[in-house]
């Protein structure tokens, strides 16, 4: 009898487990998978050439290059900043930490469009704080690459810090202390002990930063001026194609963006698997 009741208990457990699974998967399918699938089918509705033409057009290729340039500049800078900042927050306790901690989250809290406007005001040659001085020195920030890089850095700033802080806290300081007793100086300890210990936290932060920089639209649109073939990143290109009723082109570029993000994730997973093996 007891086994029978145990079995019925297991049975009801399985039922509820399966209904939870179906609920979860259904939610994901509806909200995440369906839009991706429809982008895929819509892109190739009229064959492979319309999206391919749009992407390989001069403006399309330029947008792709510009997006990759944003990644190439913003991601390394934010990675270095993020790791340094995380070490400061975790390893060097002082009163200012709470302020830094709060400020770092600002890009998460602010709408990108607000960030874009703030940068616009700051660097405007027409009465901005820094704009006129920089213009005199011959540096153009707004409507050119420097402004877009600034916007990309701003919006993606917190990821590496946020992913690294908990890992740093978890590994503690004993391994670093052990390294110092073995003769390693601060720099050697950082490269040989600290960084390898936090590398997956940092890598995850890098992936999220990359994805964010690739996809950023709001802030970059404002500071870039969206000049086709000059200051147009892939997301802005998508929007322009969409506005011009070139749907296959818009979807094609969207798909390209999604593929880039996917490749970043895959690259991390491959690295990780190689590490575990």
């Amino acid at each position: 009898m007891s086994s029978a009741s145990a079995r019925s208990h297991v049975g009801s457990g399985a039922v509820s487990r399966w209904s939870l699974r179906i609920l979860g998967l259904g939610f994901l399918a509806l909200l995440l998978a369906a839009p991706l699938v429809i982008i895929f089918t819509e892109t190739f509705k009229d064959g492979i050439s319309p999206p391919l033409d749009a992407i390989t057009s001069e403006n399309g290729l330029h947008a792709l290059k510009l997006s990759l340039l944003m990644v190439a500049i913003a991601v390394p800078l934010n990675t270095i900043f993020g790791v340094v900042c995380a070490i400061l927050l975790v390893r060097h306790k002082w009163k200012g930490n709470a302020v830094i901690d709060a400020v770092i989250n600002l890009p998460f809290a602010l709408s990108p469009i607000v960030i874009g406007l703030a940068l616009y005001l700051l660097y405007s040659t027409n009465g901005g704080w820094f704009g006129p001085t920089l213009a005199e020195a011959g540096i153009e920030v707004l409507f050119s690459v420097p402004g877009m890089v600034l916007a990309s850095i701003f919006v993606s700033l917190p990821f590496v810090v946020r992913e690294t802080v908990p890992v740093l806290q978890e590994i503690g300081t004993e391994q670093e202390q052990a390294a110092s007793t073995l003769g390693a100086n601060g720099w050697q300890t950082f490269w040989r002990i600290t960084l390898p210990s936090i590398r997956w936290g940092v890598a995850y932060g890098v992936v999220l930063t990359t994805a964010r920089v690739l996809g950023e639209f709001g802030a970059v649109t404002i500071v870039s001026g969206s000049i086709s073939g000059e200051t147009e990143t892939l997301p802005i290109f998508v929007q322009k194609q969409f506005d011009a009723f070139n749907e296959p082109g818009a979807y094609g570029a969207s798909l390209l963006l999604a593929l880039l993000a996917l490749m970043t994730l895959l690259a991390m997973n491959l690295l990780k698997r190689k590490e575990d093996a």
């Binding site: 004993e174 391994q175 202390q177 052990a178 110092s180 007793t181 073995l182 003769g183 050697q188 210990s197």
Partner: protein, 345 residues
């Protein structure tokens, strides 16, 4: 290389971890820093390694003041309670770490690492990661790592604290043998007095950031400087102002003018040793350590009345201590007369 610490002070906020601590560790000795948690023993060890900066005082290694030297230049081997294994490195890489930092060439590193792995009986596990080792193996790896760079001194912070009893016992025997072979000046921190006495030639007893007493195990056991040392180094019963070791408590069935009456509450047999717990008429709980044979001769039962006769007692009045052999009993002579039982006739 001898180590001395002179007038060390260290506070963490309001907490004074070290209060004017001075110790002297002779060259080649194996010394234990013994004390309860919060006594400052780990802080002192870490200060010797340079992992804590002293607020005041000096640390000298081989006569040289190293107080201003950073840890990596002090050439100390340090072993942590929780091993501090480099998790992303193999056993081989862990042990070779200090040598790589010192830019030894590969062949020399390989020879030295394998020599040490043989010494700590881990040869064959060189390619494993720390997560694939047991606690005892990890600690031996940490020891090999510390010894690889031929440190001037070896410092161990509760090295066996996280291990189970059996492994612990094996490792401390092993550490003693290792020290006999290598003669590197070694200080190890422990809160376990048995471990300290088993392993170390010299003990420093610490309490509340101060050194209470230092000396050999026998010194401390036979001539404790104060109540704290007496109760920390070995078991003790308190009878009024007197302190009596449980093995100095004789249990008899016939009272005389030197005995106190007690009710046998519990008899615990721990192999050859028997622990008899009694409660005196004033509620004081004491215990006597008997042998199995003695217990059988007395035919003691739980719940019966027996009589206690301290063979040797100690009292600490003010700063001086006095030994009283055989004669003194606290009963009757204490102020108020309620400290012990009036001797029943």
């Amino acid at each position: 290389m001898g180590i001395s610490v002179e007038g060390a002070n260290k506070s963490f906020g309001d907490f004074q971890a070290l209060d004017d601590v001075s110790i002297e560790v002779p060259d080649g000795s194996l010394t234990a820093l013994l004390g309860p948690s919060g006594s400052g023993k780990s802080t002192l060890l870490r200060a010797i390694a340079g992992l804590e900066t002293l607020d005041g005082g000096r640390v000298l290694i081989d006569g040289e003041d190293v107080s201003k030297k950073p840890t990596q230049k002090r050439e100390v081997g340090f072993v942590f309670q929780h091993y501090a294994a480099f998790k992303h490195m193999t056993v081989y890489e862990n042990v070779g770490f200090g040598l790589k930092i010192r830019k030894w060439d590969k062949a020399k590193i390989s020879d030295r690492v394998h020599e040490l792995l043989r010494l700590v009986q881990l040869d064959g596990l060189a390619g494993r990661y720390p997560s694939q080792l047991s606690g005892g193996q990890r600690q031996r790896m940490a020891l090999a790592r510390a010894l690889a760079v031929e440190p001037q001194v070896l410092l161990l912070d509760e090295p066996f604290g996280a291990l189970d009893a059996k492994v612990r016992k094996d490792l401390r025997t092993w550490l003693r043998h290792l020290h006999d072979e290598m003669h590197v000046t070694t200080i190890f921190v422990t809160h376990d007095q048995e471990e300290a006495m088993d392993v170390a030639g010299q003990l420093v007893v610490m309490n509340e950031g101060r050194v209470e007493q230092s000396g050999t195990a026998d010194d401390l056991y036979e001539h404790p400087a104060n109540e704290f040392v007496m109760s920390f180094v070995g078991e003790v019963n308190r009878l009024g102002d007197d302190f009596v070791r449980p093995h100095d408590m004789e249990v008899v069935l016939d009272p005389d003018d030197r005995t106190q009456e007690g009710l046998v509450q519990r008899i615990v047999t721990l192999g050859f040793e028997v622990r008899v717990e009694l409660v005196l008429s004033d509620g004081t709980e004491v215990w006597a350590q008997l042998t199995r044979n003695e217990l059988q001769r007395l035919e003691l039962r739980e719940g019966q009345i027996a009589y206690l006769r301290p063979i040797q007692a100690k009292s600490f009045n003010g700063s001086s201590s006095s030994d009283s052999q055989g004669a003194s009993t606290p009963s009757g002579s204490q102020d108020g007369g309620d400290a012990g039982l009036p001797a029943a006739v």
